[in-house]
C-alpha cells in the first residue's frame, strides 16, 4: 500500500476518534454503573427492563393490598373476640338465671346486663375502619346492623383481595352467616334479644330455652374467627410472597442493567491506555517527513 500524507492524517483522525469513543463509553458505564441505558445497548434486556417496573409495582401493590386487608381482618377478629366474650357472659347469665332460685326481680337485673351486652355486640358489628364498615360485606358504606330492629342490611357478598396475580382470597367476615345464621345457624342478635326479653318478662324456663341457641351463637362466632384467622394467614403469606417476588423482579432488572464494576473499571483503564497509545502513535507518524531532511 502506497501511504500518502492524507492516509496518515485520516487514519490518525479515525483511530483517535474510535479510541476516544470507546474511552467515553467505558467512562459512562463506569460513572453511571449502568450497562443498559438505551434500548440499542441490549435489546432483549431493555425489553425486560421496560416491563420490570410494571411487574415490580404489581407485586408491591398486591402486598400492600393484602397487608391492608389483613389489618382490617385483624380489627374484625378483635370485634368478634369481644362479641364472643359478650356471648359467653350472656350464656353464663342464662345458665345462672334459668334456675328457679332467682325471682323476677333478680332476672330483671340480669335483663339489663344482657341488653347492655346486646348493644355492645351491635356496636362491635357496626365497627368502622378507615371509614368503612367491617361487617357489611361489599357494601362498605352501609351500616350492617340496625341497633333498633337488629336487621342486617349489609351485603352478603364477601370482600376479596388479590393475593397473587389473578388469585383472590376472602378478606371479610360473612356477618350474615356468622351473626344472622343464614347458613343454617342461629340469629345471634335475636337470641340475645330473646334472652333479654325472657329475663325481663319470662320465667326461668323461658330463660333456659335460650341456652342452646346461645351455645350455637358462640360456635358461630368462633367459626367466623377461625375463618378470619385462615384468611389472615393467607394474606400474611401473600405479603411475604409478593415482597419476595417484587425483590426478585428488582434484582433481575438490576442484574440486567447494572454494569459489573470490576469489568467496567478494567475496560475504562484499558480504553484510556489505548487512547493514549493511539495519540502517541499518531503523533509519531506525523513527525516523519522527508521535508525535515532536505536542505
Amino acid at each position: 500500500l502506497r501511504v500518502t500524507d492524507r492516509i496518515i492524517f485520516e487514519r490518525g483522525t479515525t483511530d483517535i476518534a474510535a479510541s476516544r469513543e470507546r474511552a467515553e463509553s467505558a467512562q459512562r458505564v463506569a460513572s453511571t454503573g449502568l450497562r443498559v441505558e438505551a434500548p440499542g445497548d441490549d435489546p432483549a434486556a431493555a425489553g425486560t427492563l421496560a416491563a420490570a417496573p410494571v411487574a415490580e409495582a404489581r407485586f408491591r401493590a398486591i402486598g400492600a393490598a393484602a397487608s391492608a386487608a389483613s389489618d382490617e381482618l385483624q380489627a374484625a377478629d378483635g370485634a368478634l373476640s369481644q362479641i364472643g366474650s359478650s356471648l359467653a357472659r350472656a350464656r353464663e347469665l342464662a345458665t345462672q338465671f334459668s334456675s328457679s332460685t332467682y325471682d323476677a326481680t333478680g332476672r330483671a337485673g340480669a335483663a339489663a346486663e344482657v341488653d347492655s351486652l346486646l348493644r355492645d355486640v351491635v356496636g362491635q358489628l357496626n365497627t368502622r375502619v378507615g371509614g368503612r364498615y367491617l361487617f357489611s360485606g361489599t357494601a362498605d358504606a352501609q351500616k350492617p346492623f340496625d341497633p333498633n330492629t337488629l336487621a342486617f342490611s349489609g351485603s352478603t357478598q364477601q370482600r376479596t383481595v388479590e393475593v397473587a396475580p389473578g388469585v383472590f382470597q376472602p378478606a371479610s367476615v360473612a356477618a350474615d352467616v356468622a351473626i344472622k345464621g343464614t347458613a343454617g345457624g342461629v340469629d345471634v342478635l335475636a337470641t340475645l334479644s330473646q334472652l333479654r326479653d325472657a329475663l325481663a318478662t319470662g320465667t326461668a324456663a323461658t330463660v333456659q330455652s335460650t341456652i342452646g341457641a346461645l351455645a350455637t351463637s358462640v360456635e358461630q362466632v368462633t367459626a367466623a374467627r377461625v375463618q378470619a384467622g385462615v384468611s389472615m394467614n393467607a394474606l400474611g403469606a401473600a405479603v411475604t410472597a409478593s415482597s419476595t417476588a417484587a425483590d426478585s423482579v428488582k434484582s433481575r432488572a438490576s442484574h440486567l442493567s447494572d454494569a459489573d464494576i470490576v469489568s467496567a473499571a478494567t475496560e475504562l483503564a484499558f480504553s484510556q491506555t489505548a487512547l493514549q497509545a493511539s495519540m502517541a502513535a499518531t503523533a509519531q507518524g506525523f513527525k516523519l517527513s522527508l521535508v525535515d531532511y532536505l536542505r
Binding site: 500500500l1 502506497r2 501511504v3 500518502t4 500524507d5 492524507r6 492516509i7 485520516e10 487514519r11 479515525t14 449502568l34 443498559v36 441505558e37 438505551a38 434500548p39 440499542g40 445497548d41 441490549d42 435489546p43 432483549a44 431493555a46 425489553g47 425486560t48 427492563l49 421496560a50 416491563a51 420490570a52 417496573p53 410494571v54 411487574a55 415490580e56 409495582a57 404489581r58 408491591r60 401493590a61 398486591i62 400492600a64 393490598a65 391492608a68 386487608a69 378507615g130 371509614g131 368503612r132 361489599t138 362498605d140 358504606a141 351485603s155 357478598q157 370482600r159 376479596t160 383481595v161 388479590e162 396475580p165 389473578g166 383472590f168 442493567s257 517527513s289 522527508l290 521535508v291 532536505l294
Partner: protein, 462 residues
C-alpha cells in the same frame, strides 16, 4: 552532423520539461489537502529525432508529453456505493441513538406509569369507597395518559427533527446536482481543445461523492465525458448539463411528515417512487421504520388498553348508582397514544361497584384484571408484554443500524484509503520529484554551458 544550435534548441525544450515536472510537483503539494484531488504527473517524452548523421538519428532532447492523473477506475467505481451505504446506515444509527423516549430508565417512562396505574387500581380494589384511594387511582390514570402522550410526543419530535434533516439534505442534493450538471458543461467545453481538464474532473468527482452520500445515487459516464446521475429506481437527477431537483413536501397520509419529490431534468415534480439511499434514505428509514413502528405500536397499545379498561369500567356502576362510562377517551387507533385522556374528572365517577353476581367483589378488581388481558396482536401480548416488545423491537433496530453503520463505515474507509493510496499526494514523493526536476534542470544548464563553450571556441577560429 549535429549542429550546436540543435543542441541548444533541444536543451531549451528539455528545460521546459523539467519546469513542468517541478510545476506539477508543486501543484500536487499545494493540493495535498484538497478533497477529491487526484495527484498529477507530467509525462516527459523524447523529442522525435529530426536529424540524421551518417545514417543514424541524433536525438533532440525531451519535452512534456501530457499531464495525467493517477486514478484507479475500478476502485473509484466502488466508492460512491460505499459512501452512500455508509451515509445511510450512519444517518439511521445516529437518528435512532438520539431517541431516548424508550430508554428503560427514562424518568416518567411508560413502564413506571403503567405500574403506578395498576398499583393505584389495586389499592382502590382493596378499599373501593376510600376517597383518597379513588383520587390516587384517578391521578395515576391521568399520569398514565400523560406518559403515553409524552412518550409518543418525544418519538414524533424525533420524526419531525428528521423531517428537517430530510428537507436540508434534499436541498443540498439539488445544489450538488446543479454543480455536477454545470461541471459537465465546463468539462465538455474544456475537452474541445483535446486537453484533459484534470482539476475540473476532480471537482466534479467531489460533488459526485457528496451526491452519493446524500442520496446513494449511481453514476454513468457518457462518451461525451459527461456523468449522468440516477437515483434508486433509475430516476434521473442529472442528465448531461441539465439537473433535476429534489424537494420535500408534507404528506398528509403520513401524519404531515415530509415526502420526497423529484423534478427530473426538464420534467415535472412527482413523488419519488423508490426510496433513495444515502443520508436521505437513512433518515427516512429511521423516521418511518423503527421510530414510526414504535409510534404505531404505542398507538395500538394505548387504543387496545383503553378499550379493555373502558369495557371493564362500563360493566360496573359508580358508588352513587350511575352506570360506568368510558374511563379513557381515544380518537381512533391512529394517534391513540397522543389523544388518550382520562374521561372522568371526579373520583366518585369511578365505577367500582360490580354486579352482585359478578366474578369480582368490586369492579375495581375487574379493572385490575385488564392487566392480564390480551390486547390483540402477538400471542400473550398483555400491556406489559407489548411495552416490552416495543422497547426490544426498537432496540433491535438501533443495534442493527449501529452494527451496519460500523460495518459500512469500515468498508467506506477501506475503499477511501485504497483510493487515496492510488490518487493521493505523498509529500515525500513530490519532494523527490522536485529534487529530480532540479537535478535535471541543473544538468541541462550544464549542457547549454558546454554547447555555448563549444560555440565560442568555434567562433574564435581564425
Amino acid at each position: 552532423m549535429a549542429d550546436l544550435l540543435s543542441v541548444l534548441s533541444g536543451a531549451q525544450s528539455s528545460l521546459a520539461a523539467q519546469r513542468a515536472l517541478q510545476a506539477t510537483a508543486s501543484h500536487n503539494i499545494e493540493n495535498a489537502n484538497t478533497p477529491g484531488y487526484a495527484r498529477q504527473r507530467a509525462e516527459i517524452v523524447t523529442v522525435a529525432p529530426g536529424e540524421m548523421v551518417r545514417g543514424s538519428y541524433v536525438g533532440g532532447g525531451a519535452m512534456v508529453g501530457a499531464i495525467t492523473q493517477a486514478r484507479d477506475r475500478f476502485l473509484e467505481a466502488q466508492v460512491p456505493q460505499a459512501l452512500g451505504a455508509a451515509a445511510s446506515s450512519t444517518a439511521e444509527s445516529d437518528a435512532l441513538s438520539a431517541v431516548h423516549a424508550l430508554d428503560p430508565g427514562a424518568a416518567g417512562g411508560l413502564g413506571s406509569a403503567l405500574g403506578a396505574f395498576y398499583s393505584g387500581l389495586r389499592a382502590m380494589a382493596q378499599d373501593p369507597t376510600n376517597p383518597s384511594l379513588r383520587a390516587a387511582a384517578l391521578g395515576a390514570a391521568q399520569a398514565l395518559a400523560r406518559s403515553f402522550q409524552g412518550t409518543r410526543g418525544a418519538l414524533e419530535d424525533a420524526r419531525f427533527g428528521l423531517d428537517q434533516q430530510i428537507a436540508g439534505a434534499a436541498a443540498e442534493a439539488t445544489t450538488e446536482a446543479a454543480a455536477v450538471a454545470d461541471l459537465n458543461g465546463q468539462i465538455r467545453a474544456a475537452r474541445v481543445g483535446g486537453a484533459v481538464p484534470n482539476d475540473l474532473l476532480d471537482l466534479r468527482q467531489t460533488h459526485l461523492d457528496k451526491l452519493a452520500e446524500l442520496t446513494g445515487a449511481s453514476f454513468v459516464a457518457t462518451s461525451d465525458g459527461d456523468v449522468n446521475v440516477a437515483l434508486a429506481g433509475g430516476a434521473a437527477l442529472v442528465s448531461g448539463t441539465s439537473a433535476g431537483a429534489l424537494s420535500a413536501a408534507a404528506d398528509p397520509a403520513n401524519g404531515g411528515h415530509l415526502a420526497l419529490q423529484l423534478t427530473p431534468p426538464g420534467g415535472r415534480a412527482s413523488a419519488l417512487g423508490v426510496a433513495p439511499g444515502g443520508q436521505l434514505g437513512g433518515a427516512l428509514a429511521a423516521r418511518d421504520g423503527a421510530i414510526g413502528s414504535a409510534v404505531s405500536s404505542l398507538d395500538g397499545l394505548a387504543a387496545n388498553l383503553a378499550g379493555q379498561l373502558n369495557q371493564a369500567h362500563q360493566s360496573g356502576t359508580t358508588p352513587g348508582g350511575a352506570a360506568g362510562g368510558p374511563l379513557f377517551t381515544v380518537s381512533g387507533a391512529s394517534g391513540a397514544a397522543a389523544s388518550i385522556a382520562v374521561a372522568i374528572s371526579d373520583p366518585s365517577q369511578l365505577a367500582t361497584v360490580s354486579a352482585p353476581a359478578g366474578a369480582f367483589s368490586n369492579n375495581a378488581q375487574a379493572l385490575v384484571a385488564t392487566e392480564d388481558a390480551l390486547l390483540g396482536g402477538p400471542p400473550g401480548a398483555t400491556a406489559e408484554a407489548t411495552l416490552s416488545a416495543i422497547t426490544s423491537g426498537f432496540g433491535a433496530s438501533a443495534e442493527r443500524a449501529k452494527s451496519m453503520s460500523d460495518q459500512d463505515a469500515a468498508l467506506r474507509d477501506h475503499l477511501s484509503t485504497l483510493r487515496d493510496s492510488v490518487s493521493g499526494v505523498s509529500i515525500d514523493d513530490e519532494m523527490i520529484q522536485m529534487q529530480q526536476a532540479q537535478r535535471g534542470y541543473e544538468a541541462i544548464t550544464k549542457v547549454i554551458q558546454v554547447a555555448d563553450a563549444m560555440m565560442d571556441t568555434l567562433m574564435k577560429l581564425r
